[in-house]
Amino acid sequence: MLELVDVCARYNGTEVLSGVSLSVEPGKITAIIGANGAGKTTTLRCIIGILRPSKGKILWRDRDLTALDTKDIVKSGITMVPEGRHVFPHMTVSENLDMGAYLRRNIHEIKKDRSWVFELFPVLKIRSGQTAGTLSGGEQQMLAVGRALMSAPDILLMDEPSMGLAPMLVDEVFHVIHQIKQTGKTVLLVEQNAVKALSIADKGYVLELGLTILSGTGTELMNNPEVERAYLGI
């Protein structure tokens, strides 16, 4: 279980997180929702070590991640699909997937995961020799997810995977997240599209101004009038 205990973080001296506490249960989908600037992305950045929290603990497998570098956190089994995809534009689709497996040595296992990724996203197989910069937005999103899966993570952090995608592709992305869960992986999802996120989430948290203000199962939160107010950001 991944657990955040009262995590605070600052950007250039401004406090962005002022006490985020949440727990991510294994094999489940956990969603973080909230308005723009609530601290959702910052929370993920703290977990993966791009940003160091100023206070609080992030506990994973008896270790506090707040003291570790990103590469050691990735080594410990956590990967992030960043907001805005961030594929390597001048590398081929195939090379991008290789980069996802950068820390792994077992060629046989890597091959197995590669064919699984191609099963999840058949279009990536077709485009495997193309440079990632020539893919459409939707294809790049799939590549970003596929690349993250290539590191064989136990926990997949996903930052706004549906952002900027056509409605049909949004459905596909959520379908894939559900499929990933069914292989036993844990997903922590950050989304603006709160309805979609809560509909597939086992558990959800609502962030407001850097604080976790509500939590509950996906359905509980969906039926909560507070939530409507929070995620609409009124």
Binding site: D69, T70, K71, V74, T79, P82, F88, H90, M91, M99
Partner: protein, 295 residues
């Protein structure tokens, strides 16, 4: 222009172009990975020339052996520059321009150290492959020029292979294309910067030891060659690896034409005028359209 003329300019321009390309690669590799300019690149050339001179000419070591010792030695100096200047300044989140000034400091220190160790006099470095030219018609091919071309191009191919097919090389390209995403893959981005500095210094060292027999070895030779290499890198598009190679050869040929057609005294002025024109017409570099790929 007659066919012989063109050959003459090629023969004169390509070897020095290969040297510029090696130096330009150093700038571009570091710029691609770390996003900073390394002004000590020219002085890595000087150090390569001097250490090679010391081993080969003073201690009488075999040239190849001298090359094999000099290159990793200068690469280590490059790594030291990354550790001391880039890493420590980055830890204090200084702006990139401070790093650039830091590397300028390194350049001046290197120059003064060389002055203290080897003195102010220009040193003669005899070509290890002899100086008797091969004559074909009116054309004279010098063995050192051919040697420069072969070794230079071999090194460029080696670099391309490293970037394309090795684990660390691919990681360096990933860092160059998206530093944040690279760290999410578990890549040690700091190590990639160290590698870029080491490789750049190594290429500078080889350029230095190759060019030493063409000119004299002096403590301040890094300034001129460093500037030329930088211009070649900018013409090819800073951070663009194939562009740096193209930019280097292009600059070498322009110089060759300028000194052959007009006057060698105006060589630099003409070369730089052409370069300003190119940057005016194509601000992203001469090769921005042909090769979109950076690293």
């Amino acid at each position: 222009m007659k066919g012989w003329d063109i050959l003459y300019y090629l023969v004169n321009g390509l070897p020095i172009g290969a040297i510029y390309a090696l130096v330009a690669l150093g700038y571009s590799l570091i710029y691609a990975s770390a996003g900073v300019l390394n002004w000590s690149q020219g002085d890595m050339v000087m150090l390569g020339a001097f250490i090679g001179y010391n081993l080969h000419c003073l201690l009488g070591l075999n040239f190849i052996l001298a090359l094999l010792i000099t290159t990793p030695a200068v690469a280590c100096i490059g790594m030291l520059v990354e550790r001391i200047v880039l890493r420590s300044l980055r830890k204090r989140s200084s702006p990139p321009v401070n790093v650039v000034i830091g590397t300028l400091g390194v350049a001046i220190i290197c120059r003064n150290l060389a002055l203290a160790i080897w003195g102010p006099d220009a040193q003669l470095f005899r070509s290890p492959v002899g100086s008797v030219p091969v004559e074909i018609g009116t054309l004279r091919l010098f063995p050192q020029d051919i040697f420069i071309l072969i070794l230079g191009i071999a090194l460029m191919i080696l670099l391309q292979y490293f970037l394309k097919y090795t684990r660390e090389g691919k990681a360096l390209r990933a860092v160059a294309q998206d530093r944040m995403a690279a760290s999410l893959m578990g890549i040690d981005v700091g190590k990639s910067d160290t590698l870029a500095f080491a490789a750049s210094a190594a290429m500078g060292a080889v350029a230095g030891i190759l060019i030493a027999p063409l000119f004299f070895v002096t403590f301040n030779m890094g300034a001129g060659i460093g500037l030329k290499g930088f211009v070649a890198a900018v013409v090819g598009g800073l951070g663009n690896i194939p562009g740096a190679i193209g930019g280097g050869f292009f600059l070498g040929l322009i110089e060759s034409f300028a000194s052959g057609k007009i006057s060698s005294g105006y060589r630099d002025a003409i070369a730089f005028t052409v370069l300003i024109l190119i940057l005016w017409l194509k601000p992203a570099g001469l090769f921005s359209k042909i090769t979109k790929e950076t690293v």
